[in-house]
Amino acid sequence: MEIGERRDGDILVLSPAGRIDNDTSPPFQTRLLGALTPGAAVLVDFSAVEYISSAGLRALMMGSKQSKAANGRLAVAALGPVVKEIFEISRFSLVVEVFDTPAGALAALR
């Protein structure tokens, strides 16, 4: 899967694209956990994500735990309609910080 990457000041923005499912969650998880170094602020921009399965959400959960343990911050933004529904169904909105837009997330993470 393609995972775009850019920096906005101290914040790393990861932009996966397509489906995060059983096939694609391993590289997503590897990249996300690798980015969450101690104290790091990471934003996952979901603008180009069409779907996320339990495996993808598990990667986010691991990221959230790792981030909290290392005094970092993890947020997600720009959930499309399907991904937003899945976040509600899974109750993941209670696990990670969710923002409507990347700009709003970046402002909160600074």
Partner: protein
Amino acid sequence: MLIRFWGSRGSIPTPLGYRAVRTKIREALLAARHHQLDSPESIDNFIAKELPFSTSGTYGGNSSCVEIEAGGDEYVLCDVGSGVREFGNALLAKHGPARKSRFNVFLSHTHWDHIMGFPFFTPSYIPGNVIRIHGCHNAMRDVFIRQQSNPCFPIDFRSLGATIEFVELEPGRTYEIDGLSVKPIRQNHPSDSYGFRFSKNGKSMVYSTDSEHKFDVLTENYPFVEFFRDADLLIFDAQYSLADQISIKEDWGHSSNMIAVELAQLARVKHLVMYHHEPVFDDKMIEKVLGETRRYAEINGSPNKLTVTSAYDGLEIVI
């Protein structure tokens, strides 16, 4: 094969209190205001078609007990949670105490919510009845004696009138019991639990409760995909949300509605029944979760169409 649910609640029986009953009555009356309900038939029709199940009924309060009618001479039950009390009473009301019966119980595990109904299972007091409790735990008899003896219960298990036998099964082996093929599988749960696949005449039903599914990636190689493969009905422990299952309630031994859907679709199951409902959830919440789970089965892109139901006490499904 007919499957009848006598107990659908997880962890502990959860009776409705008077506030919940009054809320249901109030909602029903509010919904009825603009309907012409001047005959018993129109009222029945209104209840059946116009009210949500969370208002017209309840998912129920009894803990785990499911009956399988498969045309054999003997009764077949999965677990003897508090629901088995009502099963026993219904049987006596229908046939009276004189008729002697044989029962096959398949025990998922010995946690209390799965055995607590047995001291109140009236047929166990009647000489001539035979109750065979099948399971993969080697301490089943000890556990039944411990819950039904002084000082926990006034009538000792060893003094019951029925003949009660414990039959230890081996996971992975297939057994023929009262015309049913039965295969157990070991599940991830504190002190282990076991699921059972029942098959007869080309139809299959899987009873898989108190089972936590932990995997990084869900693939065809996961043993439960094969165990559930092409089942006509899958009764599945979907007690938690995914977020709860993999965070604060990790290693508590239960699973979630999203894992239920993904596993069922991967295994090409036809009908998923969510079971072992979280006792914190009221009827409205269980109904909400049911709607969300059906929606997840639609939007996740799987080519395998899946019917999704939430179990309730009194539910009957024919496969």
